[in-house]
Amino acid sequence: MIERRYRNRLIGLAILMMLALVGVSTRLVYLHFHLSPGVDRGARINAMRQFRECLAVSRGKILDRNGNVLALDLVKKELCASPADIASNRNAQAVAEIIGRILNVEPCVLMDRINRPERQFVYVTGYGHVLEDNQAAALERAKLPGVFLKDAMVRSYPRGTSLCHVLGYVNLEPERNGCAGVEQRWDRYLRGVPGLLVSERDGRRHELYDRRLLEIKARPGANVMLTIDQYVQYIVERALENAMREQRAKAAWAIVERVHTGEILAMANLPAFDPHAFRATEPDIMRNNCIANNYEPGSTFKVTVVAAALNEKLVAPAQIFDCENGTWFYKRRALHDFHPYGNLSVADIIKKSSNIGAAKIAVLLGNQRLYAYLKQFGIGECTGIELPGEETGLLWPVSKWTSISPTRIAIGHEVAVTALQMLGVLCTIANDGVRMKPHIIQQVTDADGRVLYQQFPVAVSQPIRPDTARLMKSLLVRVTEEGGTGARARVEGYTVGGKTGTAQKAIPGGYSDTLNMSSFMGFIPAEDPELAIIVVLDEPSNNVRTGGYVAGPVFKEIAEQSVRYLDIAPMGNTTVADRPGVGVNRGI
């Protein structure tokens, strides 16, 4: 039996406990459901806890036609420090020495950065500099007070400098915009869409998952697949490198294009640059000369004039022109040939690359017709390749031509082209007169593999008839035969068609006698052209600087390896004219 006094105490205790429990519960309900009467305070607490985070998204990959990765995002580490914390521990010198030992940097250089007690945050090795993985691991193990590693997304190019002018580069965080090449032009697809996270943190700054208010998933960037073949690209770059060294040229560039589809298999420029170190590169070196350098093409341009005249049936391959023994005065201005010739047939004008012969054909053609054909061949307008910074070339309207303009245009002066435009002319001839739009993008797919964009071959125009094109092909084959200017471009076992070009460079007040642009463009196999290649060397410095001598062997090196790699079989000894409908008309 419980005594009365104990019972009262027990009841009192129970009431007290109940009150306490009710009080605590009420408080919990208020806290949990944000019913606190102090609205401002509640909002302040929420604001302290709540955070908005932009969810980083990786850029899409850039792939070659076979799926080899040419550019991808990697998460690397940046070395950061809090100089104030380091100063409070009074060990800046020791920290600098340890970091210096790991990074192989002089401690005094690091001391300049971390011995700033007034600062809360510094990049120890500079903004944008990321650590190697072994360095990051060593620094993590060292656990230096006031020193920490920060994740940084960086664009990485596994092939290094290869294809740098086509790929371009990406600037540093936080923007990470594509700034050149494919990275710039296809930035909209590559960059993806960052996500958003609105949530709350606990006192230890850990996210409270159950308080996550909003989460919008990041959408990774789309993958861009190029038409480039990394091995053909390598062949081209290696050949250009050798040529640059042997010919002591200032620069060199080359393109390999598939004749029937307009796909670019390789596009190389030298000197190259490291896209990882774009901040230390001269803007001039970063220019893609294949599409952004207007140059006077020289004799390679003769093919347009002769093709036009043949198409108009103004001349026949066997028709003889008097090449004036090397000097012809037209409108009281002299025009010279590199070697003096007497009478030459149209076929030999191409084979020997006679300036006078080509000029006479251009005069025969007339200004208006010549201009119309050049426009149809795409001279003076962008090709529309999916890269930024393409130049249009330079073709003045007929109204601005002088009386001698057709004679100069015929030999590739008074007109400027890009290498891609010039190659386009050759591809048109090789493709039975159909001009295909060159393209470097094959397709764009999102992270789930859905195709967002696909490029199909597009025929732009047909400046010449198929029979004229076949005739031109047979004339261009003669250029690489014995006695032609392009004999050094011959490939064993294959028939090659092509044209050499040696242009004097324009300087203020005229043309330089010592500075040249030497080029060679050709197609292989000539019977049914599969590949068209153009090689341009800027200012080769050896004694002989003609296109056939300088650029021809580079063409040969590229062509003979490319046909083997791509397994393009030779067509035998049948002549081009004997094969009606080769190229476009032969469907598989």
Binding site: M1, I2, P158, Y209, T261, A372, D567, G587
Partner: protein, 129 residues
């Protein structure tokens, strides 16, 4: 009928049964709430952990992919061959034995067939013909 003895009292502290039931219900509710909260937090932690783990695996995958791509680039392969003193050249055309039609091999060069190129019509009118 027996008269109720008003003096007879129940000994000790007695809480009525309905109150006990209500109290028990409240306690069960509270415990359930605590358990669910703990469970939710645990799940949240696990999801966060999995998210981190996935990001880490993605990071490692990208890094391995980068290493692999660097390793199999033509220049690296050439360097490796040179390092091991292996000289390789393409066989001469005359020494090749083709096991398939070269046209078919060429077809694999591109994803577009030549037929496709044929089908694409010039977008502009043909002039100079």
């Amino acid at each position: 009928m027996a008269k109720r003895n008003r003096r007879k009292k129940t000994e000790g502290f007695v809480i009525a049964l309905p109150w006990v039931a209500i109290l028990m219900g409240v306690v069960v509710l509270m415990l359930s709430y605590v358990w669910l909260d703990a469970r939710g937090q645990d799940l949240g932690r696990r999801i966060k952990f999995s998210e981190k783990q996935r990001a880490e695996i993605q990071k490692r995958y990208d890094y391995e992919l980068w290493k692999w791509e660097t390793l199999k680039s033509p220049s690296s392969i050439e360097k490796a061959l040179a390092h091991n003193r292996v000289a390789m050249i393409w066989p001469e055309e005359g020494r090749l034995v083709r096991l398939q039609e070269p046209e078919l091999a060429q077809e694999s060069l591109t994803s577009y067939s030549r037929q496709m190129a044929q089908l694409s019509q010039p977008s502009r009118s043909v002039v100079n013909d």
